[in-house]
């Protein structure tokens, strides 16, 4: 199996072909990559099949993507998502 990698908050995370971003993060021992909008609590994968939206993450600058559905690609820049992921739009 080929091993590739993406970055998560500038840390290198390896994955095998076909793994989702969420699975690769869990495989690397990372359990959470989002903070909730109200209480700032950590969240990661819960349902694992695209139903619950708990695993939202920012990939290549685009927030609110479901880490459990998106296939990992070499060179992706994956980042922790704070709140709604669009703080730059706050007024």
């Amino acid at each position: 199996m080929t091993e590739s990698s993406f970055t998560f908050d500038d840390r290198r995370v390896g994955f095998t072909a076909g793994q989702t971003v969420g699975a690769a993060l869990i495989g690397a021992g990372i359990r959470s990559w989002r903070t909730t909008r109200v209480e700032g609590r950590p969240r990661g994968v819960f349902c694992g099949i695209g139903v619950c939206f708990d695993c939202l993450i920012t990939i290549d600058g685009v927030p609110n993507q479901r880490a459990c559905l998106i296939a990992a690609q070499p060179g992706m820049a994956v980042r922790t998502q704070e709140g709604g992921g669009r703080d730059q739009l706050a007024v």
């Binding site: 076909g18 989702t20 699975a23 869990i26 609590r41 694992g48 139903v51 619950c52």
Partner: protein, 465 residues
């Protein structure tokens, strides 16, 4: 973008949808098979991209799956296409899917919907901690990604699905610290007439039980995971013995260290698409809202057939039989070839009856009982998306006067977030009914006109919707 017109569009490529596509192809129809995932299999036959062999030991019925995949080679497949709605038009239906933000329209004369189901959840203190997964989520990590949810995992909830989840984790090297089944498996013994004719299920169950024994996994019935502990991730759970109504037996609480938890309380069918085309529903034995179908899997909407969990949670074998019936019938009406259209083969009727009787015994053996409500504290989140606690939901019923799930949602925001009540809908309906003294409304959160996230720009192209 519009595809060419098909006789039958099958939505969902799990056991039910694959069987439907296979049958429709076999009946000479031009078939479109649509699924949000990149490859066939659904949740049941989930496997790493293009590598079924890697997880073959975790699966059952792969002979059926491989034969189905070969058969649907004659269909036009639309994988990676997430269906967001289905429209009824004069000549049939238009299935609207999104791929990378762009819409694809698939037109067909008749439809088979096989959308499947996801784990039903009950809230408990700490269930929002990272490291707590749905049972299906832990299974998807394993079967689809070959990743273990944790090194030391606790599995709990109710229903036979807990067994493959626990034995799969153990087989791949996780320490399973216990399987906690809230009901008593003795319920099966009382329902032997429904169990014995389905020999395959017995063999499968015996296989899991043996695997758990081999890995020295403790199995406790009438026990549940009633709280998860940790600050930023789960580090332990409280497990307790339950009485008949699932209230905690005083003094029975035990702390179990773990780094992951997998919980499930049966399944909730995915009804967005059947509801979008207007299919009539009923409430099944397990309290789930399901599509009402006749002998030929025909829904109340002419031309729409439904197979699998959406017409009653019953597992892959039942979905396969229902799919075969639905695909055949949908092809017959679309192609106008009347041959055998009216009659469902007796062999399939018999199999379906036996598997439905088994499903019914399963639901009666593994019901959700009321006592779980006492496990909650005021601070326990009910709605994970909008972070609505049990205390705030209670305020909506007790102080703000909500007497139904919908007004409780409007007043508390429970069910208004990203998942649109898919996760908390069942629990919210149960809690509001109990606190307001009104009847339980099983379908309160089922209708979602937009089934998957789509760009707003796409929605604006549909002034009529």
């Amino acid at each position: 973008m519009t595809s060419s017109r098909f006789d039958v569009a099958v939505v969902g490529a799990g056991p039910g949808g694959l069987a439907a596509a296979e049958a429709a192809v076999g009946a000479g129809a031009r078939v479109a098979l649509v699924d949000g995932a990149g490859q066939p299999g659904g949740q049941y036959w989930r496997h790493p991209a293009g590598d079924l062999d890697a997880v073959a030991d975790l699966h059952h019925g792969l002979k059926t799956f491989r034969a189905q995949v070969r058969a649907v080679d004659a269909a036009t497949t639309f994988f990676g296409h997430q269906v967001w709605t289905i429209e009824k038009v004069a000549a049939g239906f238009v299935v609207r899917a999104v791929v990378a933000g762009t819409e694809v329209e698939i037109a067909a004369t008749s439809l088979v919907l096989a959308p499947g189901a996801y784990d039903r959840q009950l809230p408990f203190p700490g269930w929002d901690l990272p490291g707590v997964y749905t049972a299906g989520g832990a299974q998807a990590l394993l079967k689809g990604n070959q990743v273990l949810a944790g090194r030391r995992v606790v599995v709990g909830g109710t229903g036979p699905f807990l067994l493959p989840v626990a034995s799969g984790l153990a087989a791949r090297g996780a320490k399973v610290a216990g399987v906690f089944e809230a009901n008593s498996p003795l319920g099966w013994v009382r329902r032997l007439p429904a169990v014995l004719p389905v020999a395959g299920k017995l063999t499968e169950g015996a296989g899991y039980t043996a695997a758990l024994a081999r890995h020295r996994v403790p199995y406790r019935s009438r026990h549940a995971i009633v709280a998860a502990h940790g600050t930023d991730r789960v580090t332990a759970v409280t497990v307790a013995r339950l009485d008949r109504d699932w209230r905690i037996v005083a003094g029975s609480q035990q702390r179990v260290e773990c780094d992951a938890v997998a919980v499930g309380w049966g399944f909730t069918p995915q009804l967005e698409l059947p509801l979008a085309v207007g299919c009539a529903t009923r409430v099944d034995v397990d309290g789930s809202v399901v599509v009402q179908v006749d002998e030929a899997q025909r829904s109340s909407v002419p031309g729409v057939y439904v197979a699998g969990e959406a017409c009653g949670v019953g597992g892959a074998a039942l979905a396969t039989v229902e799919g075969a019936v639905a695909g055949r019938a949908a092809a017959a009406v679309a192609t106008g070839r009347a041959a055998g259209a009216g009659a469902v083969p007796r062999r399939l009727v018999g199999q379906r009856n036996r598997l439905r009787a088994f499903a019914s015994a399963m639901h009666r053996t593994h019901p959700v009982r009321d006592g779980w409500r006492d496990w909650l504290t005021d601070e326990t989140l009910v709605c994970r998306c909008e972070e609505v606690s049990a205390g705030r939901l209670r305020e909506a019923t007790d102080e703000l006067g909500a007497t139904d799930a919908r007004s409780a949602k409007l007043l508390s925001r429970a069910g208004m977030g990203w998942c649109q009540g898919r996760v908390c809908g069942y629990a919210t309906s149960c809690l509001v009914a109990a606190w307001s003294g009104r009847p339980f409304e099983p379908g309160a959160a089922a209708e979602r006109p937009v089934a998957v996230p789509i760009p707003l720009g796409l929605l604006s192209q549909h002034p009529g919707t």
